[in-house]
């Protein structure tokens, strides 16, 4: 008890240098926790992008390429799936639902996705959460559009606004369809997935933009009365849900061996995992950096402790003269380092939550990573435990020196 009090008072007496040491530890703990949390949450956001979908089917290409283009809107496939094949496959036994998607158009750099109403009914993200509307409802007419929350925010669109969709990707498209404006009828709730950055139009409208460009366009007739009828010759891909996993595997095999058209069926969960493994190296480097920061901060503490120790030899000699044993001085010094590390970790956690609290919104909108501001996970607690243990072990070095000083100095300092 007296040792604890002495350690506390002594630390308080040297508060400037102790505070600096504490701060370096706190910042390194904050950094480690933040990187760790972002890493874990990025991973879960990543795998949360799509859920409940058993198969994604597209033209034959690489697994990851199909996943990237159909789910993440990154890159695009050159070929599509013919409407006949889509019809044929989705009529197989065990198919619970299917969502055709058609990509390749854009609006001010945001992806445009042509689909059916099934999209709003069956598409799931995160933990099988369905899409929900912030405002308005799904499209009911061919010239209506449902936009993601990010699109609405970024381009300041609201219900009733009329927008123009261009052919091809990117801002500088050759072909603007000025004569076919779309009306915003629905805004989706934020999902933290690429859905937020997507404009959803009826599949039939895509037919008008692309495939039917020759005929539909030249007619210059008003589309406003069109109901959601018609379909394109080709779609980019389609998502499927099955009644049972057994069907999934069976249909997948059939699709991959489908004779009429070269198609590829992937299981998104498996491919997501493969993709994440490719990114694992970045993740590991980040983690390595944060560990190095922790080590540097602990070495900083060691330096400060050792530098202080020389000035404190008199203090140790005084304690010795009033009867403190060498081992008590040893515990005094190691207790101080433990206390510093503990407080450093505590402040680090506070800083971590402050940082996460302030940047969660930004990460969500910019990187699509939804940060989970919850209590520390077991793994994070283990990390903190490891830092505390390392701080304690490092504190043993000056403590050992204090032990031997106190033996050789006795009651008066002889240098």
């Amino acid at each position: 008890m007296i040792l604890f009090k002495l350690a506390y008072k002594s630390l308080l007496n040297r508060r400037a240098s102790v505070l600096l040491t504490l701060l370096t530890i706190a910042i390194s703990v904050m950094l480690l926790l933040s990187i760790e949390r972002v890493r874990v949450d990025a991973k879960s956001s990543f795998s949360n992008t799509i859920s409940g979908t058993d198969l994604i089917v597209g033209a034959r290409t690489g697994d990851i390429q199909l996943l990237l283009s159909s789910v993440f809107r990154i890159g695009h496939t050159n070929n599509g799936v013919s409407w006949q094949s889509y019809q044929y496959i989705t009529k197989q036994r065990g198919v619970k639902w299917s969502i055709p998607i058609s990509l390749g158009d854009s609006h001010k750099g945001q992806a445009v996705l042509g689909t059916t109403l099934d999209y709003f009914k069956h598409y799931r993200f995160a933990k099988k959460q369905p899409l929900a509307f912030e405002q308005g409802l799904a499209f009911a007419s061919i010239n209506e559009v449902v936009i993601g929350s990010e699109v609405a925010k970024k381009l300041a669109y609201k219900i009733g606004d009329e927008i123009v969709i261009s052919h091809g990707m990117g801002n500088t498209s050759f072909h603007h369809h000025d004569d076919n404006p779309f009306k915003v009828v629905g805004i989706l709730k934020p999902t933290g997935t690429p859905v937020d950055k997507t404009l959803h139009v009826p599949l039939a409208a895509i037919e008008l933009i692309h495939g039917g460009a020759d005929n539909a366009h030249d007619d210059h007739h008003d589309h406003s009365n069109h109901a959601l009828v018609g379909h394109p010759q080709q779609i980019t891909a389609f998502l499927m849900g099955f009644d049972s996993p057994l069907y999934t595997l069976q249909v997948r095999r059939n699709i991959n061996q489908y004779k009429k058209e070269p198609l590829l069926a992937i299981m998104p969960t498996v491919t997501l995992k493969e993709l994440w493994e490719m990114l694992a190296i970045v993740e590991k480097i980040l983690l390595l950096f944060s560990f190095v920061v922790v080590i540097i901060s602990l070495l900083g503490m060691l330096t400060t402790l050792l530098a202080n120790l020389n000035q404190r030899r008199r203090e140790l000699a005084i304690l010795r003269s009033v009867g403190a044993r060498p081992w008590q001085l040893f515990s005094l010094i190691s207790m101080e380092s433990l206390l510093t590390t503990f407080l450093g970790c505590l402040v680090g956690c506070i800083l971590f939550y402050a940082l996460m609290g302030t940047t969660a919104g930004y990460l969500q909108s910019q990187a699509g990573v939804s940060i989970n501001i919850s209590v520390l996970s077991d793994y994070e607690l283990t990390l903190i435990g490891v830092i505390m243990a390392a701080g304690f072990v490092i504190g043993l070095i000056p403590a050992t020196r204090a032990y031997f000083y106190s033996l050789s100095d006795g009651m008066s300092i002889k240098i």
């Binding site: 007296i2 008072k9 005084i318 009033v322 009867g323 060498p326 009651m411 008066s412």
Partner: protein, 228 residues
Amino acid sequence: MINLENVSFKWQKNAAIPTLVIKQLIINNGEHVFLHGPSGSGKSTLLALLAGINITTSGQLCVLNQDLNALTNAQRDAFRADHIGIIFQNFNLLPYLTPLENVCLGCQFSKKRQQHVFSQANDLVSEAARLLNALGLESHLHNQNVATLSIGQQQRVAAARAFIGSPELIIADEPTSALDTQNRESFIKLLFEQAKKNNSTLVFVSHDETLKPLFSRTIDLVNLQGDV
């Protein structure tokens, strides 16, 4: 109380000439002894031996009828905490504790001295305050920062720390060298008063021979070693 016989001490094991050689030295219970000698005559060495920080290279050294050579390091540490109070030259207080806390520190590493305090007072702090008052440090200074006290006041705190828990032996290592003559004498008188009250033996070490007349017994370390 203290009994040295044929004691010699070398700092290094294979040093040719021992730092200290004392054929015989006996200090009786309750004596106030003035131990003096020029610098380098072995005063500090003798104190380190009496306090059990170092042990004799040869010969026998008994304090309170306890042969210090027969104790282990840990036992000697405990012995020192229980039976010996030490007053240093100066700056001997922990700067981050108040005067009261510094005084209490004197018996916080010894159960025996704490028990002694509790047999006379209710708690450590009131006993520490009583000692400080007795040594002439006013109450309003008791909780002040130690660094703001004058050297003379700091010496009083150091003395109170040595006396708390009534240790049998008080060792004062040049405690007055930073004080002027007048303060020196009044401080020594206060020391005597407390030592008498607690029935403590006082070994006062200094190179300042002008203090000699104040003590009942004087030991010249040079002569003592010359006896060999």
